[in-house]
């Protein structure tokens, strides 16, 4: 045994993949595994950076053929217009089929009720799960990463959901080597997370390396915002600002893109990918901690929403 290893540098072999190449290869392997084993997979596509990276990886996995999956967007009705525009552009460019599950429609029908705080993120679960049932999707790709949140750190790459889309942490299958088990009973489906092992920084570095185009709101821009729960929120139809919340113009960007009512902007002058990466590497806050009101609800907020079928 080695008692005192001499300080040597890690051996650089020509056969060591860089971390981005290794993550890319792993994600592609996951996409192809699902294509080989499922009948009707769908990619959850929000127009946020993680789902954009997912789509980019899927395109690579099946080139020169088309991606054998459709896309699904859960539309809260409070989306940033820049993001919707981006979504439609990407769908058209790659000849993809887009399904939309609309929260607004559920509210109009009286099935869902607006929450007093105006946030619609928790309302996404029902339209999502009913769409999965009605379209009979058997595999649903999500952009969730294990580094995002404590409950997600326990998530499998292939996560089994029952017919109510519920996540039971005690029913998850052990996942060994790179052997993913996608078998499920009729009515059940599997949530698949190809970016499980990616960090926020990995995602950004990959976007930079691949030259992937993103919605502009990820970069610093001047915006009318007001402060609520310690975050800069954008004024909009969704119910802000109140009279007690003065609006100001600030130079901001978004670290995550979700519902306008609960996604906060951060003060930033990063207008390029490089500047964004430098800013993230030096940040002392996680992306959700800095920008998501809905994750601050309680210690187990994410776990509870996942159990109900949230992504």
């Amino acid at each position: 045994m080695t008692q005192a290893a001499t300080r040597s540098t890690a051996q650089e072999t020509p056969y060591a993949l860089s971390h981005l190449d290794a993550l890319e290869s792993e994600a592609v392997h996951i996409f192809r595994e699902v294509a080989g084993e499922f009948e009707n997979p769908v990619i959850l596509f929000s127009g946020g950076k993680d789902s954009i990276v997912m789509l980019h990886l899927a395109l690579k996995a099946f080139a020169p053929a088309a991606v054998p999956f459709s896309l699904l967007h859960v539309d809260t009705g409070h989306n940033f217009p820049e993001v919707l525009e981006y979504r439609d552009r990407v769908v058209a460019a790659h000849g993809l089929r887009l399904h939309v599950a609309s929260v607004q429609e559920y509210i109009d029908r009286g099935v869902l009720r607006e929450r007093p705080d105006g946030t619609r993120n928790p309302l996404q679960t029902l339209p999502l799960t009913e769409k999965i049932q009605s379209e009979r999707f058997d595999a649903v790709f999500g952009g969730g990463r294990r580094d995002e949140e404590k409950a997600r750190a326990k998530e499998r790459v292939f996560s089994l959901r029952d017919e109510f889309s519920q996540w039971d942490p005690r029913r998850q299958r052990p996942e060994l080597w790179n052997l993913y088990n996608g078998r499920h009973a009729p009515g059940e489906h599997v949530r698949v997370f190809p970016l499980s092992n990616w960090t926020e920084l990995d995602v950004w570095q990959y976007i930079a390396r691949e030259g992937i185009d993103l919605p502009e709101i990820y970069f610093a821009h001047e915006r009318e915002v007001f402060s609520r729960s310690g975050m800069w929120l954008t004024a909009g139809e969704w119910g802000g600002p109140k009279d007690t919340e003065p609006v100001q113009i600030r130079l901001v960007r978004y670290r995550t893109v979700g519902d306008m009512s609960c996604t906060g902007a951060v003060d930033s002058d990063a207008t390029t990918l490089e500047a964004v990466i430098t800013e993230i590497a030096a940040s002392r806050l996680t992306e959700r901690g800095a920008t998501r009101a809905d994750d601050k609800l309680s210690e187990a907020a994410m776990e509870d929403r996942k159990r109900e079928g949230y992504f």
Binding site: H19, R32, R183, A185, L201, A282
Partner: protein
């Protein structure tokens, strides 16, 4: 434990480190594993302000006097309520030298199953012992699992040295006993490090209390241990995941075989066979996600085209004709049983190996292993959850299995319940 501000190396998240080490931690309940992990994350500056704030808040809410870094790692409500870890959690941190993916495995309920899961993808395992208790039954089991799963590097972290007077004799005695046992198990590479996770000795910062120890800290060792073996020694193995057929006007006849190289390397012009059919061809082209290449190696995801129009489908294996795996319909293996329902002879199962899933039947369970010393006990009749045992499985079609000793990727398989898809057992072929 109270996080120290740390005086030594600053490890701000680097954007330059490009190699990754996947490792796992194992320790019994109460020997300070969560504290060690918390210390690694905290001292390598991987805990961000809002996470720390949440943990401080939760510690106060529980009436604890100091910040409990274990709360950084326990994610589920039941875990926090009971102060235990239920499931494998994956954590990510980086230093300027390397990135790390940590499979943090609980020392509590179902720990065998969870440890086997964590060890299956790990290149290194950190086994914790309490300096006051030395090598205990659980330590021997953790070592046995690392040996069974063939984790290339093992670290023995002798923790709570502060409670053992930072004594060199205590450390040497524990290290000697563990090394003798590890040698018996066939563990090739072992490094022992005396630490105090609570006080921070030799985790990230070198200890001021143990001048007699001249070796690396835990983080030093994690940063310097060699990763990624050289694939030219391993046989080329390419399980086909998916057949790519664009069938467009531009590419009417294109057929590519998409997959991830599981072992070794492939090159253009290489004579290969397609298993199980045995048809031969040569590799005509390799596409590495949009880049043409003359060769590629594990674990790259590629698309391969062949010179001849042979029949290839998902589940087939492409391998060099000169170095083919044995084909068998009788798989003899060591399995870890991971399901609540027992495994019994006569049970019909599915066997998933690489990209191929075949119907199979459990013919025999000749023995169960005691994890204390990997000794075998004949005729157990069944395997229950967390048992490790020897099985003989008969498959309906031949499978191209390597021995797990030669290749962790191509020598491993799952047994699955055909009725509801439950993963029953994780297997390592002879």
């Amino acid at each position: 434990m109270t996080p120290s501000t740390g005086t030594g190396t600053s490890t701000t998240l680097s954007t330059t480190a490009t190699d990754t080490l996947r490792f796992a931690t194992a320790g019994s309940v109460d020997d300070g594993k969560s504290t060690l992990v918390g210390r690694l994350l905290h001292d390598s500056k991987s805990v961000l302000a809002d996470q720390l704030e949440a943990v401080e808040h939760a510690s106060r809410a529980r009436g604890q006097q100091s910040t409990d870094l274990a709360l950084l790692t326990d994610g589920l409500r039941a875990e926090r309520e009971q102060g235990i870890t239920i499931d494998v959690a994956y954590r990510y941190f980086a230093t300027p030298r390397r990135r790390f993916i940590l499979a943090d495995t609980p020392g509590h309920e179902q720990y065998t199953r969870n440890m086997v899961t964590g060890a299956s993808t790990a290149e290194l395992t950190v086994i914790l012992v309490d300096a006051r208790n030395g090598v205990v039954e659980q330590t021997r089991r953790h070592a046995a699992i690392a040996a069974l799963l063939r984790v290339p590097h093992v670290v023995l972290a002798v923790n709570k040295m502060d409670l053992a007077g930072y004594s060199e004799e205590v450390f040497a005695a524990i290290t000697d006993e563990f090394a003798r046992y590890a040698a018996k198990l066939g563990i090739a590479e072992l490094t022992a490090i005396p630490v105090s996770a609570l006080a921070g000795d030799n985790v990230v910062e070198p200890s001021a209390h143990m001048d007699w120890y001249g070796g690396p800290t835990v983080l030093d060792h994690l940063e310097n241990v060699p990763t990624a073996g050289r694939p030219e020694g391993a046989p080329g193995r390419f399980p086909v995941q998916y057949v790519t057929r664009p069938q467009t006007p531009e590419l009417p006849d294109y057929r590519g075989y998409a997959g991830q190289i599981a072992s070794g390397s492939l090159y253009v012009g290489q004579p290969v066979s397609v298993l199980p059919s045995g048809r031969t061809s040569t590799i005509a082209g390799i596409d590495v996600l949009g880049r043409r290449a003359d060769s590629a190696f594990a674990p790259q995801s590629v698309t391969v085209s062949l010179a001849d129009d042979v029949d290839v489908a998902r589940g087939d294996l492409i391998a060099p004709t000169a170095d083919l795996p044995p084909m068998t319909r009788e798989v003899t293996a060591t399995v870890c049983h991971v399901a609540d329902q027992p495994l019994v002879p006569g049970r019909r199962v599915l066997l998933k190996h690489g990209t191929r899933t075949v119907t199979a039947i459990v013919k025999d369970i000749p023995s169960r292993l005691t994890l204390d010393d990997l000794s075998q006990h004949a005729g157990p009749g069944r395997l229950t959850a967390n048992d490790i045992g020897r099985v003989v499985v008969r498959t309906a079609e031949p499978v191209a299995l390597d021995g797990y000793a030669a290749s962790r990727r191509t020598g491993s398989f799952l047994l699955i319940d055909p009725a509801d898809g439950t993963t029953l057992s994780a297997g390592m072929a002879d």
